[in-house]
C-alpha cells in the first residue's frame, strides 16, 4: 500500500487529505501522479512539488517502494 498525502490548497481540491493506493511493482512516481491527476485534475493544476517519505523528489522516474508516503504539494506560503 502507498499512502498519499495532500495539504492546504491541494487537499481542499481533492476533498481529502489522505488516500491509499495499492502497491504495484515498478510503479513510478510519475505514473502515480498521472493516475491521480486524471482523477483530480483541478487539484493537480496546483501541484508543483513532490515528496517521497518526507524528502523532495524531482525525478518522476523514481520507482515507489511498498509502504511509501507520497505527497503532492502546491507552492509553499509559510513565513
Amino acid at each position: 500500500m502507498i499512502q498519499v498525502l495532500f495539504f492546504g490548497p491541494v487537499a481542499d481540491r481533492v476533498g481529502q487529505s489522505t488516500l491509499s493506493v495499492d502497491y504495484q511493482p515498478n510503479l513510478s512516481l510519475q505514473a502515480l501522479r498521472d493516475t491521480l491527476a486524471a482523477r483530480y485534475p483541478q487539484a493537480f493544476e496546483l501541484v508543483c512539488m513532490t515528496a517521497v517519505n518526507g524528502q523532495h523528489v524531482r525525478e518522476g522516474s523514481m520507482l515507489l517502494a511498498d509502504q511509501s508516503e507520497v505527497t503532492f504539494m502546491a507552492k509553499f506560503s509559510g513565513g
Binding site: 495539504f7 492546504g8 515528496a51 523532495h56 505527497t71 509553499f76 509559510g78 513565513g79
Partner: protein, 143 residues
Amino acid sequence: MTDFAAVRLQTEDFSQDAEIIALKASSKRMGGIATFLGCARDFSEGREVSTIGFEAYGAMALSEMQQLRLDAIAKFELLDARIVHRIATVTAGDNIVFIAAGAEHRVAALAACHWMIDELKLRVPIWKKESTPQGDAWVVPHP
C-alpha cells in the same frame, strides 16, 4: 513546559527575548545577532484579512527547517541560529515566524537571516489561508 529546541513548529506564541537569550547562551564570541519577525497583517491583495490559518506537512517541515539551520550555519559561518514557526490561526499583529542568526560580526548575521527567511519560503512545506469578508483563500506566493 516549553520545548526549547533551536528549531520548532508550535501552536503557541513565542518570546523573541527568550529566543535571543538562548541564542546568546550558545557562544560568548557572538558579536552580531540579526533577527526576522514575521507577523500577521490585516490587509492583503486589496482585501481585509480577519484571520490567517497555517497548515504544515509537519514532519517534513521540521526536517527542512532543521536542515535549513544547518545549511545557514555552514554557509555563513554562524555561531548559532534559531527558527520558530507557528502553525495556528492568527489575527493581525500576531507573531508567525521568528528567525535569528548569531555570528562573530554583523555582516554574516544579517546576510544569514535574510537568506534563511527566503529559503524557508521556498523549502518548508507550510501553507497559509487568509479569511476575508469575501471568503477564505489559500495564499499564492509572490516571487
